[in-house]
Subunit: 414 residues, 2 copies
């Protein structure tokens, strides 16, 4: 393989100094630390365990809301949402008044590290399980970008690569599967093996974490399989950094029923039909979570004052934080123009809904495990190499998951 270039570059205020070796940053979607704990305690993740011992393992704080698009955008820009503009998977576009998916790169307000690395001469590839992320992650990228979900649709003209199934040696997986994530990692291995890329971003899906608790046999097998693919990357000499976009918690009552506060029903009954609740977890993958997470934004008609509604909401059991727009923008690092008049977070075991009719609870497979709030904020952060003194001191502070590219490129001792 050609030696990767090591030309420094700067993007979004951070300077990157890539080493002349292949690199992979992995986003373990929905990987609460408990999943690693359960698998490692059983000896099922020997490669990640060696990363923890010989490299670095710590806990990082993700961007809020603890959702996939928000945090993938943060990871590939090195910025909080206030900087990159992606405030959820879904939002009420103030320019059109429409509720839309936030999958388009036109919502992205910053350059990506990946595009900048490619301009600096790296052979960049992004592989994502969910196709919804591909456009944002590939924004202005001169390189390879495809999803496992639509691997069979990749063409050289549109994705920088074709014949992906042949490359990976596997048919395009269904998105509701462990294979959707494993395909991403196998694609990463194949891209390095074939000399097609030397700077990878591999973003998995949290289907398995939504469905299974950390000590479920299915979750253990899944994480063991992830570990095996990471071992293949390490064996190829790839420096690996891994973090998660968000954690995951059970959001149900002891009887197994989802633990839901229907915010729009409650607020419209008390404050009229003009109140509109947006659930930024909403995405095309309804079997994951039924659009139920621990974060919501509320849009109020001009005539309604927000303070009494905020007080009312804070009076409810299961609601843990309520902020007005300005406070949310400042404290949660959100773009003020892309949130609601109020921002609401719920408890570790509570999700926020709109109305009972809005959610298809029958679509949930198994119990409800979800994310979006404060209790899914802390995520694992691992590197295959030990930190330099400078980065070790930084890691001892308020490490963020969107520091992962800087730490992987700049922060390691070897």
């Amino acid at each position: 393989m050609v030696q990767p270039t090591s030309i420094p570059f700067t993007v979004n205020g951070r300077a990157y100094r890539p080493p002349a070796r292949p690199l992979a940053v992995i986003c373990l979607d929905g990987c609460a630390d408990d999943y690693l704990d359960a698998a490692m305690a059983r000896g099922r993740m020997p490669n990640m365990q060696q990363m923890a011992v010989r490299g670095f393992r710590g806990m990082a704080r993700c961007a809020l809301p603890s959702f996939t698009n928000v945090n993938n955008a943060s990871i590939v820009t090195g910025l909080p949402p206030a900087g990159h503009g992606i405030s959820g998977n879904f939002f009420l576009d103030p320019e059109t008044g429409e509720e839309v998916m936030m999958n388009s790169a036109r919502y992205l307000r910053a350059e990506t590290i990946l595009a900048a690395a490619a301009r600096a001469g790296r052979r960049v590839a992004i592989v994502t399980a969910k196709d919804k992320l591909r456009e944002i992650l590939s924004h202005r990228l001169e390189g390879i970008g495809f999803s496992a979900e639509q691997a069979d649709q990749a063409t050289a003209a549109t994705h920088g690569i074709s014949e992906v199934e042949a490359l990976v040696g596997q048919a395009t997986p269904t998105i509701y599967s462990a294979e959707a994530s494993l395909f991403v990692l196998r694609a990463g291995v194949a891209l390095v093996e074939k000399g097609l890329a030397d700077c990878l971003y591999l973003s998995l899906t949290d289907y398995m974490q939504h469905r299974y608790a950390p000590d479920a046999p299915e979750a253990l097998d899944f994480h063991a399989a992830i570990d095996g693919e990471i071992g293949r990357l390490l064996a190829l000499g790839v420096r690996v950094g891994a973090t998660a976009d968000h954690g995951m918690n059970a959001k149900q009552k002891p009887d197994g029923a989802p633990n839901i506060i229907y915010l729009e029903s409650l607020l419209r009954e008390e404050w009229g039909p003009g109140v509109r609740v947006i659930l930024p977890i909403t995405d095309p993958y309804v079997a994951h979570h039924g659009a139920l997470g621990s974060f919501a934004v509320i849009h109020l008609p001009d005539a309604l004052p927000s303070a009494p509604i905020a007080r009312r909401l804070m009076g409810l059991d299961g609601i843990t934080e309520v902020y007005d727009r300005e406070t949310a923008a400042r404290k949660l690092e959100l773009p003020a123009d892309r949130i609601g008049d109020l921002v609401v977070l719920s408890a570790r075991d509570v999700v926020l809904g709109r109305t009972p009719d809005y959610h298809d609870l029958a679509a949930l497979e198994g119990g409800l495990r979800s994310h979006g709030g404060r209790y899914e904020e802390m995520v694992p952060f691992l590197l295959s190499k030990p930190l330099s003194a400078e980065y070790g001191a930084r890691a001892a502070g308020d490490l963020r998951n969107f520091d992962i590219f800087e730490f992987t490129l700049n922060g390691c001792r070897s």
Copy 2:
């Protein structure tokens, strides 16, 4: 040894059904989950690792503020602070106007599980590293209660036991040591071995966690030694439950200086000398934290309104939550009469101080690692036996560290 009694009892609204075997609940003071991760990844905690695999390991939410007295009181009563009345290590007593330590059992507003177990015929022993906890933990206890710190002062009349050093085979340790915790565990082993107790509460000290990060050799050795003593308990047939009173985070800037917001200085300059800031982390063990934690309460003169001060505080970087008295009592489950007019929490890497003069930063050994806030709320929760279906379902919800006695006594399958 005489077979332990298995007579059920009820206290503070919870029914306990102790099995006819020896039991030990361990409070791993300041044991953020990272400490277990770092030691287990290196194979240094084989007994705890086996508990995780064959019994149960999960994450529990502690009581806020995430301080020692608060959470030890919660663990031994099964109640949040609103129920037991211990709101900190230190508080402004509204009855006297004095700032006092909250070590006295006269502040305790609930019975303890330990006293009730003793009344039901169990041979109860509590052993605590820090003597400050002994009075609260031993409240109305017909049994054994002593501290490692003052082991040489235990007498049958006052502590239910004498000659503790001979029992343990070790001299009274200094409180600023790993031995202060290990002495507690060794005492527990000796009490079971000698048939002196069959229901133990063993509460360690977080000196090592305040001083060392999870992957420091000293922390790894400490946790390996803890694991060895837990292994001795397990070998004696003791059912073990273990949790922590609070987590632990570095609270410093990259240059190693403590990251402090001096609240009283700031508020007195803007709002006059009547503003009084109380730091409920304050305790006699200043080398641990210099009275610097991530939680403070503010007492205001009657003439000052709290709302603008709350807004001012929320405007500060590093302040994450500000509540008025009523909201704090409800959302943080605190006794309203034993907190301030405002309650303030700070960020993962930020502590709250009074004034620069108030704190003896020179007393801090090494960097500042501390706790008290939201980012030290999640703690490990382990049992040596697998959960029953009923308790497994409960564990999947919002498990609390003060559920540990109920889970250890009632929740296991064998």
